[in-house]
Every structure is written in structure tokens, then in C-alpha cells.
Amino acid sequence: MQPLLRVDKLVKHYAAGRSAGSRDKLVALDGVSLSIAPQSTLALIGESGSGKSTLALCIACLEHPTSGSIWFEGIDVAALHENQQRKFRPRIQLVFQDPARSLNPRWTALEIASEPLIVRQDTSKQERENKALELLDCVAIPRRLASQRAHELSGGQKQRLAIARALALEPKLIILDEALSALDCSVQAQISNLLLELQSSFGLTYLFITHDFAMAAHLADQIAVMDRGRIVESGPAENVLRSPSHQVTRSLLAATLPITETPGVGLEL
């Protein structure tokens, strides 16, 4: 079955010097390749600075890679022109880590949920409002909160709102960039369950970026580990967790979960 998303040797450099045209560059992505099957979840794990967010931005067509290709539903979106890319963006949505920054604090929940539809410009105000209310229902935000301003909502509610907004344009792929990391444990559990429900209801594919192996274990079918701009290990979730082959994976695992390493048997949680 053709993967929904296939990233092929993606490279991204940032100019690091102060003046334009400076020689120093920051290598954020150094030849990243991965693929995600439709309606599955790939967890991308790595420490901060490993390039995960840059990868997310590139896949979502919000940054231009320096080289490499991003095949989405068979089309190389990285090679597209800005105007054409804009048409693709609704199909790949991003949910950010800190909802306080990813939602305009002065807007109401209803406005935020319906914003994607405004951009589409082909719906009436009433239609947009109805759709927005439906979305709020999907993410279990009570309708009475629809007219509250974003800064008045709790952390969990804000993140649900961000998810609702991401769903508005019926995307195929949702990238969650550390979307649960800023929340309390109990809220994390609620929302990860919500995500699973939404995945089966809407047939979504997730790219779940995190530094937390426990989260990944709960949600992911496949796991890829990233370090300094490269994928160092990938495979089915079970395998990676049980018998990590790369040093980086091992140290990350050791840091997040209580494990014992039994030589010959591998790691056990």
C-alpha cells in the first residue's frame, strides 16, 4: 500500500550569520527519510535541537527545504510553487506545542475554530458557525464555551481547540508537534484518547512528535528516532521499544522509562 507521506533525503540549512550571504550555516535536517502508512501513527522521537520541529514545518509546507523531496499522496509538495503549495496546506495540518501561543488569545473559541473556513472563502457565516460548533463537539468542548476568549480556557481545553481547528479543513495528515508535552498528566491521557477516537472516526494519519517514549508507546504504530538532523532508527513500535539498536535510542529510553537491560533479552519496562 502506498504510504500517505514519504520524505526522501530532506535537507534544511539555515543561514546562521548576521549578514545575508554569510558562510556559517546551521544544519537542521541532514538527509531525513521516513514514510507513514495511511491511517497509522508514526511517532518521531528526539531531543530538543534534533530537528523535529523543522521537519514538521517542512512537511506542513511552512518552510522550504534546501533539498530533498516530500511525497504526499504521490506529489512532491516540496517542489511546488508557493501558490500551489497553498492549496496543499489544508491537507496537512499542524498542532503546536503551546496552545497559548498557537491560538490568538483575543479571539473566541468559535472564531478560532471557524478561522480555517474563512480562509477558504466559500462558506457563509452561518455555515461556518455550524461547522465550528460541530468541531467543538468532536473534541468535547462544551458549546457554552464557544464565546469565551482563548486566554480564558484551560490548557487542556485550549489544546482541544487547536485540534478542532486542525480538523476544520478535513486534513489527511495531522502533525502533532509536542502537542501534549505542555499538559498535565491526566489531561494528556484524556487528549491522547481523544486523538485515537478521532483517528478512527475520520481516518486520520498522525505524525506524532514527542520526546516522551511513554506517549509514543501508547499511540504509535511506528517509531522513528531522530538525532541531530538524521533518523538513526526506525521501525514498528514494539521492536524499537523492546530492542533498540542505536545508542541514542537507548539513552533516550533510559532517560524516560524505568527499564532494566538484560543482556541478550533486551529491555523490559
Partner: protein, 351 residues
């Protein structure tokens, strides 16, 4: 909050001051161009409630002035005639706010002209001229500030949002504009345009010239705001569902610049009113018979006026309450925005 209250107080004061000037036709007793050649350079008249015989009058009144015996320019009160002051009096026709015709004046007198602030060389009432002149000066300042802020916001947003070489270029030009000796260039700009134009054209010219001069600083400030807001995730998210640049600028970025623009407005308006006054004072602004605070002061350049007719200086005070109001408003706005900055002086050096 105390800051909000301060802000409100100054807003109300400024609104009241502007209201008085806007309703100049009502508050002024006479038409500003109405001459009375028999009574040039009359000093301000006193309002009394007790007359020369010690009687108390309920209604305030004044004595008309007459020339002292054997003198050409010394006046004394003619205590034989009592002219009472009347309120809500019918007088010269005018148009309130430019289109509502009316003849109602706040006060006036029957039988003689009351010159509360004296008269000028043609016997025109200074008070009326000051009030009407304020309309010109204030309007020039407000419109000029509008032009500047519009230009500044546009350029600042373009530079901040698009970045790259456009940003570099625009900011270099802005630096150039910030570095120029503004007073000189303002005059040069104004004077090198045709000198003899109709009053309306002159006014518009003044507004445009003033407006084009000061855009650099607001542009820099707006650019700063745009640079920081641009990186916010909610802007990224909006781009993520296919929003156009225009949408992002209009719905997310522009509202964030509002506070900067408002503060700049409060600082710029008085500076621009002063610029108009300076231009008109030097003969490069609004011409006679239109009055503006500037050209009312221009008569002081004549030595005899300077020596003998001190009340011709009074228009200078008209701007002071406005300066106070605007600068205090700007200070309150800045405090509210969290950054306490030193107010810039209202002299014409917008640096």
C-alpha cells in the same frame, strides 16, 4: 486600574478641547473675517459685574472703548454706556462642523462689539480668530499625523513581513529620512512648491508635506511589532490552512500594531500642529484671510506690534493645553503598554 483612569481623564479633556474648537462657530462671538476698520488694535476688554457707581449688575457687562483725549492709540473705557453680555445670542451665520447652518452663538452683545481678547489690525475679533484658527491648525495636525501613520504602517508592515532585501532597502531609506534636518527640508519642500496657491490648496499642501516627513519612526516601530508577531504560532497556523499574506496582515498582525500606532499618534499630532504653526508663522503655510494659530502670530514679527500690542501673543497659548493633553495621553499610553519612555519634546526634531 489607575492607568486606565488616567487615560480616560486625558481622553475626556482632549475631547472637550477638540469639541470647543470644532464648534468654533458657536463659541466665537463673531465671524473671524469680519472687519471693523474703526477699531484696530483694541486691547482686551474687561468684563464687569459692578459698575463705575458701585452698583451690582446681575448680568455681566462691558464698557465700549474710546480713544483717550489727545491720543492716537491709548484707549479708555467709556463708562457712560453699559453694554450687557448676552448668552445664546443670534449673530453672524456659520456652519457648525461645516454643514449645519446656524446663527446661534454662545455669547455676544447688542449695540457694541465685545473684544474679549482684543482686536487685530483690521478690527477683527482675536477670540473668534483664535477659535477658528484652531480648526485649521488642529485639522492640519490630525490629517498630517494620519498621512504619516498610514505611510509608516504600510512601509513598516511591508518591511517587517517580507523581510529580505525589501526590508533592508526600506530601512536604509528610513534611516536617511530619520537623519535629515527636518525643519530645513520641510521648508524647502514647502517653499519649492508653488508659493501662490489658493488657501485650500495651501492647506492640503501643508498636510501632505508634513505627513511625508515623519513616516520613518512609526515605520520602524511597526516593523518591530510585525517581526515579533510574524513568528507567533497562531500566524503559522493560519498560514497552515492556506491564508493569504493579506489576510494574515489584516486579521492578525495589524491589530497588534494598534497600540504602537496609537501612542505614535498621540506624540505626532501635537508635533504636526506645531509644524503647521511654524510654517504659517514664516509665511509658508496657510495664507490670509484664513486664520491659523501660526499666521495669527506672524504679526508679531512687526516691531510695533511686538512693542505695543501684547494681546497679539495670546494665540500662542492656545496650543499649550493641547500639547499638555496629547503628551499626557502619550505618556499614559506608554505606561499602559508597559514601557516607560521619556516623552520627546515637541520641537520639530522627530528623532
Amino acid at each position: 486600574m489607575k492607568q486606565r483612569r488616567k487615560l480616560m481623564i486625558w481622553l475626556v479633556i482632549l475631547a472637550a478641547l477638540h469639541g470647543i474648537i470644532a464648534a468654533a462657530g458657536f463659541f466665537a462671538p463673531y465671524d473671524p473675517v469680519e472687519q471693523d476698520r474703526e477699531r484696530p488694535y483694541l486691547p482686551p476688554m474687561h468684563i464687569h459685574i459692578v459698575d463705575a457707581h458701585g452698583h451690582f449688575h446681575l448680568r455681566p457687562f462691558f464698557y465700549p472703548l474710546r480713544l483717550r483725549e489727545g491720543s492716537f492709540d491709548q484707549y479708555e473705557e467709556d463708562t457712560t454706556t453699559i453694554v450687557p453680555l448676552r448668552f445664546f445670542e443670534r449673530g453672524a451665520a456659520y456652519r457648525l462642523l461645516g454643514f449645519v447652518p446656524s446663527r446661534l452663538h454662545f455669547f455676544g452683545a447688542a449695540g457694541a462689539r465685545v473684544y474679549l481678547l482684543g482686536s487685530d489690525a483690521y478690527g477683527r475679533d482675536e477670540l473668534s480668530r483664535i477659535l477658528h484658527g484652531g480648526q485649521i491648525s488642529l485639522l492640519a495636525g490630525l490629517l498630517g499625523a494620519g498621512v504619516t501613520l498610514f505611510l509608516g504602517a504600510l512601509i513598516g508592515m511591508a518591511a517587517g513581513y517580507y523581510g529580505g532585501w525589501r526590508d533592508e532597502l526600506l530601512m536604509r531609506i528610513a534611516e536617511l529620512f530619520l537623519a535629515l534636518p527636518w525643519l530645513y527640508l520641510l521648508f524647502a519642500l514647502r517653499a519649492f512648491l508653488p508659493l501662490a496657491v489658493s488657501p485650500l490648496e495651501a492647506f492640503l499642501l501643508v498636510v501632505v508635506v508634513i505627513g511625508m516627513v515623519g513616516w520613518a519612526r512609526p515605520a520602524r516601530l511597526v516593523r518591530g511589532v510585525v517581526l515579533s508577531v510574524k513568528e507567533h504560532d497562531f500566524v503559522r497556523a493560519a498560514r497552515g490552512f492556506g491564508a493569504s499574506d493579506f489576510y494574515l496582515l489584516r486579521r492578525h498582525i495589524l491589530p497588534e500594531t494598534a497600540s504602537v500606532l496609537l501612542t505614535q499618534a498621540a506624540i505626532l499630532v501635537p508635533q504636526f500642529v506645531l509644524a503647521e504653526m511654524t510654517l504659517s508663522f514664516l509665511g509658508l503655510g496657510v495664507p490670509e484671510p484664513m486664520s491659523s494659530w501660526g499666521n495669527l502670530l506672524a504679526t508679531l514679527q512687526q516691531y510695533n506690534v511686538l512693542v505695543s500690542y501684547w494681546w497679539m501673543y495670546l494665540p500662542a497659548f492656545a496650543i499649550v493645553p493641547f500639547f499638555l493633553g496629547y503628551l499626557s495621553l502619550a505618556s499614559a499610553l506608554q505606561e499602559r503598554a508597559g514601557a516607560y519612555k521619556i516623552e520627546e519634546k515637541g520641537n520639530w526634531n522627530p528623532s
